[in-house]
Symmetry: D2
Subunit: 155 residues, 4 copies
Amino acid sequence: MTDSAHPQPAAPSAGLSDAGRPVAFRWPVRVYFEDTDVGGVVYHAGYLRFFERCRTEWLRSRGLDQQTLLDRHAIAFAVRSMAVDWLAPARLDDLLEVGFEVREARRASMKGVQRIVRADDGALLCSASVRVACVRVPDFRPVAIPDSLLESLTA
Amino acid sequence: MTDSAHPQPAAPSAGLSDAGRPVAFRWPVRVYFEDTDVGGVVYHAGYLRFFERCRTEWLRSRGLDQQTLLDRHAIAFAVRSMAVDWLAPARLDDLLEVGFEVREARRASMKGVQRIVRADDGALLCSASVRVACVRVPDFRPVAIPDSLLESLTA
Amino acid sequence: MTDSAHPQPAAPSAGLSDAGRPVAFRWPVRVYFEDTDVGGVVYHAGYLRFFERCRTEWLRSRGLDQQTLLDRHAIAFAVRSMAVDWLAPARLDDLLEVGFEVREARRASMKGVQRIVRADDGALLCSASVRVACVRVPDFRPVAIPDSLLESLTA
Amino acid sequence: MTDSAHPQPAAPSAGLSDAGRPVAFRWPVRVYFEDTDVGGVVYHAGYLRFFERCRTEWLRSRGLDQQTLLDRHAIAFAVRSMAVDWLAPARLDDLLEVGFEVREARRASMKGVQRIVRADDGALLCSASVRVACVRVPDFRPVAIPDSLLESLTA
């Protein structure tokens, strides 16, 4: 399997640009049996896993690998708060498109917005705002994002 | 194993009473390996699973079994929105106490507040507000809560 | 996002051919925070989720969509038994390649083998044999695989 | 909430004694929405989580807390192999009884058997054999179980 076999981020969306600097990022997610529940739809907490995959791939697209952050810097990005609206259910086999866009970056935290749409008709299924903080592992005290990383995040 | 081997809800807390009618409900949850992540703490979406266990046990304490709701009434309670604050991390082996309190009950939806504290020192780890709607399965259209159930929920 | 943004199965491997008919199928899986545990590696049950994604994509590659199986045929493929060996741990951010190969197909069940290798060095991390049965939903009684599907599965 | 509100292990079963020394251990598990899938039953990998909760509580019943093992000894018990049979499905709201019994204890690993029965009728839903090894974290190399722990495990 070559790298080309792995999902590639969709091109940045012009529609979600922020002050002329396109930061919107989208990542495809497929719904599997593991994601569903007896109601016949994706279990509500599962959308938070999808949101996190998208944030992780956004970091990766900027050259940041979280295992490296843990190993070299002993830091992680911890979710501090989310407001989530579940608007319509995703179902088994649905192909979803998960988005992330930074709205505010500070020394030790970031705010962003996320949404999940069904790929085949663009229906909005879930939207969220999220605040993540840079924390030291293992004690989870907030710390400033190292300068070398901050450049990657805000470039 | 007798019923007495299963976790029993703690007594209603006087401190969380609502208009003189104590509705607060608490449920113990233990943190296992499955709940943790490489950061050494409970994965953030896992707290939503804990919140849902507590709401389910609150329903059960009022005589409502969700499998029966699905089988007899073809309804489920679907989470429509949550606002969640993660304040401090839970860790492996922690015993947590998860709370739920109804704040508003309507014909087809309910609002409530939830929190998770660490049992051994009472530290508040996570708090949330939640809105759940009564929906018809499998199409997830909002429906009124059947009268027979409404009595159990608001008694 | 176009279909091309979604992961594509790697080409069938000649090395895993069965009686001259190559049936091996491989699917890429990325390890996220949700998959890890406090030990710093993928939680052991998580590999079963990866195996199932691969089997699902194998079905999809043959034109079978499990939501359709549920809706039109009221059947599902239920796992009856697995023997799993965890050989070396996968870690956060690892790109894995999950494989599936049918070894025996009967009227109402199938046997196969699966493995998970780390994409960057080919290290074998986990291997398994699996038996899945065709069952009727919701009572889970074993049923014969419909002829129309059987052709797709064994072609 | 007092400790008495938390589930207590059932008394050891005479029927599963091993060489005159009863080692069987049982732990109650309730099925929640999070555990189910669109097939209407518990997702197959979920049973492995239930098995692990039972092994963890077995360790706890012998005075071993896995967070302490990680912090003080930098060791964990990693699952090396399992053979699992899923015999009948568990459903939402089912109360299950999960069992564990050691069959062989070595310097650096243990073998045991596990089963899950439905509490209300004793139906056997899932059975497994499991081998766990003592490993050093974070490199997961096998190590001998410290003498101080071995006494607790085999007493």
